[in-house]
């Protein structure tokens, strides 16, 4: 009964922290999940000796106002093998649920971070990376190009460590907060300096010149969302 008694004020307190209830235990998270090192760095800095001098409602790492930094997980699926528009491409859908932000929050920054986890079997390689905004759901058999808009096209040199690309999607992510407006993104990857037969690794069931690191997904994407809750960020206060 003491637990029940404690639940009501706990709900009030969690509500003031911007939470509808207790989040699920961290132990039940998907395997392989981790706290991004950038978040750890920001957390440690906020606890550091010079923390008093910094404004808790400004995220200096990104140079924007905000008191909440989320690593929004990608919920899109990997469409392994042949892309509908590019036979040699690897295609990945990206979807970030922006409804996790409360309506009161002001979105300051949404930065897409894509990390490629490949080990190289031979020499340096480059990938052509194309990122599309999916504007609407396309019907089967319809032209796949019609329902999407190119956001980014660049080549990425693969290194011996995971390689990352960052894209500012703040305006787009703001639109995703409205119900029914989020069709996600489409990522197309094409190896640039490989022979056609070497492109086969992207097709299931073939040998792997670009060997994926076994425990990691080939492509990992997170949306770093920085937002400001104006009710929790009054001006003129200094942090501890």
């Amino acid at each position: 009964s003491r637990v029940e008694e404690a639940k009501s004020p706990e709900r009030l307190f969690l509500g003031s922290l911007g939470l509808s209830g207790r989040p699920r235990p961290a132990g039940s998270q998907q395997p392989g999940r981790h706290v991004p090192s950038a978040l750890w760095r920001m957390f440690r800095r906020s606890e550091g000796d010079h923390a008093e001098e910094s404004d808790p409602c400004t995220v200096s790492e990104y140079g924007v106002r905000g008191n909440i930094i989320r690593y929004v997980q990608d919920q899109g699926r990997l469409v392994s093998g042949w892309s509908s528009s590019c036979r040699a491409c690897l295609e990945k859908q990206l979807y970030f649920n922006m409804s996790v932000l409360q309506p009161v929050e002001l979105l300051s920054l949404a930065q897409l971070e894509i990390t490629f986890h490949w080990k190289l079997l031979q020499g340096p390689r480059a990938l052509s990376v194309s990122l599309y905004q999916v504007i609407r759901a396309t019907l089967r058999g319809a032209d796949p190009q019609a329902g999407r808009r190119l956001l980014l096209s660049q080549s990425v040199r693969l290194q011996h460590e995971p390689t990352s690309v960052a894209v500012d999607l703040t305006a787009l992510a703001e639109g995703w907060r409205k119900p029914g407006r989020n069709y996600g993104l489409l990522l197309e990857l094409l190896p640039l300096d490989a022979e056609p037969e070497e492109l086969l690794p992207f097709h299931p069931g073939n040998s792997l010149p670009l060997e994926p690191a076994s425990a990691l997904p080939l492509v990992q994407a997170s949306l770093v969302a920085v937002s400001l809750n104006p009710h929790q960020c009054r001006s003129g206060r200094r942090r501890r």
Binding site: Q29, L39, P56, Y71, R239
Partner: protein
Amino acid sequence: RSAVHLPVTPSNVCKARRLYIDFKDVGWQDWIIAPQGYMANYCHGECPFPLSESLNGTNHAILQTLVHSLDPHGTPQPCCVPIHLSPISMLYYDNNDNVVLRHYQDMVVDECGCR
């Protein structure tokens, strides 16, 4: 009426006291990644007449202590409350498996006063 002076030992005077909140004690250790707890502190003590400057009393509190000294049963002493708080940061998983770093204001009592 003459003022009633109640003896107040220094240890009873309003000031910040140490309170460490361990998130394990409130059952939040499973979703808060860091910190595991923090020094939250609290205010406790009396606001006696006459209010010294160290008690950070408002003009209202000074007058209230005066009235209290004249009529201890009819008028209470001012309250010993936080007058300066500072924020902390918390790192946690939300219900969508996102990792969140959030700064929360007014989590640590730095200074107390009579109000």
